[in-house]
Symmetry: C2
DNA sequence: TATAATCATTGATTAAAATCAACTTTCTAT
DNA sequence: ATAGAAAGTTGATTTTAATCAATGATTATA
């Protein structure tokens, strides 16, 4: 992990971060002044579950997985962070809080790093930014609720189909290619299924004519048909 | 569902709600003026998944379950709300948002009902209240993350033990009685296990000498021993 | 380009919990 | 107090996905 000059991140770039989008130049300049730019090589950790959470992050390049380990060492990936996304910002308002997960680079990554206290001081002055953070936190809550819904009310096959469909813009109806941004076993853990099972599900969906798998690229033959299948898959499997 | 005069809820009572604890008398008076008091009989719905979310709530009396249904009609209880707790306040900051779950009374309930817009206007003026809401939302996020952890990395037995231990104050070491506040099948759904399985797990824990079950009361013989068992239960079961 | 290491697939088997079904207990309302 | 409904328990069986094991494919690297 090495610090780098932050000269290559502009104020305009910061403004594109949703949480900062309503801030003025002076506020953004202050954030820029206090932010750091870090590089993390594949496999290395940005922070670990339980560590004191004093900063949050924006991924510029690479991929980061947010995970937890069971006592027996089993790994559950909660989220795969892609470039442009912020993470760990929800802990900002828990004084003396600790990160609820571990963050590990899946590939060499470039990260912007913000001090919670600096941003909190700015949020105090900006109702808009404040309500944007709350909006974002609401969304997170909804996301996790959906996740629990999928884990408890849906099958592994459904979860995978859902994941695939989620990547596709609404207007696409026919053919579409989805590419896994990270190795299949990471996607599997993200979906709470074992790699073997993911492999079998992909195989079955292929056999049923829904998809063609080529490495990490999934070609969906007919998006609408898969959407329809997702609605019925649990009913059918009874 | 019938409206009632709110005369029996005082300003002081409102101040005990965490989210309102830093507000001044004038702000609390305004909230009181705009709040409503509703009664909901057992089995009836307060709101349904997908409905427009314009208010949030504080349960005064009774019990409310927050649930989702699968397409096949299977019910998953996400949360059992007990008196004194607020709920659905996280949706406040999602404009045009809808409730992510259904709220149904498990027993005859008495509920305070707050208009989102009124509270938002007050939050605008109060940084403290604002940061308290954010703190609360952070906690919710952590809670759901823990929930997913339990669902994916732990067994049904572990989830039940966890639930029991969670009800017990830290200082208790030996015997302790936990009483299920709602029927066992609701607890089962809350823990994402079937009633039959819950029954079997309780039976097994009894056979192993950890607990005695009498109706909805679980007598834990030795809290420390159960805590220790929880740590090892997954390892042992391998 | 060889070689190891990681990742992915496939098959056989197992395990945890769900399902189905019957029955008992408890609660509720008359 | 009693009938009926709802909730809970217990047993037999099935299902989904995990586990175990072996092999094949990719990727990285020496």
């Amino acid at each position: 992990m090495q610090n780098q000059p932050y000269s290559d991140t502009t104020i305009d770039e910061l403004r594109q971060i949703y949480l900062f989008s309503s801030l003025n130049d002076q506020q953004l300049a202050q954030i820029k002044e206090n932010m750091r730019h870090i590089q993390i090589d594949e496999g290395n950790f940005l922070f670990k579950h339980g560590e004191h959470a004093a900063r949050f992050f924006m991924l510029k390049k690479g991929h980061i997985k947010l995970l937890r380990l069971s006592r027996e060492g089993a790994e559950k990936v909660f989220e795969v962070v892609s470039p442009g996304e912020t993470f760990a910002e929800a802990a900002m308002f828990m004084p003396q809080s600790s990160y609820p997960m571990t963050a590990q680079a899946i590939s060499d990554s470039s990260i912007l790093c913000f001090e919670n206290q600096i941003v909190i001081d700015i949020l105090k002055e900006s109702w808009d930014a404040c309500s944007q953070l709350m909006f974002q936190m609401s969304q997170r809550i909804h996301m996790w609720i959906n996740e629990i819904d999928h884990l408890t009310l849906q099958s592994a096959t459904y979860r995978l189909i859902n994941y695939l469909l989620y990547q596709i813009p609404d207007n696409h109806k026919n053919v579409y290619k989805v590419k896994f941004p990270v190795p299949k076993h990471v996607i599997a853990s993200r979906l709470s299924i074992k790699p073997e099972t993911l492999s079998r599900i992909l195989h079955t969906l292929n056999k049923e004519g829904f998809i063609t798998v080529k490495g990490s690229t999934i070609r969906i033959h007919n998006v609408d048909r898969l959407r329809l299948h997702a609605v019925g898959v649990d009913v059918v499997s009874q």
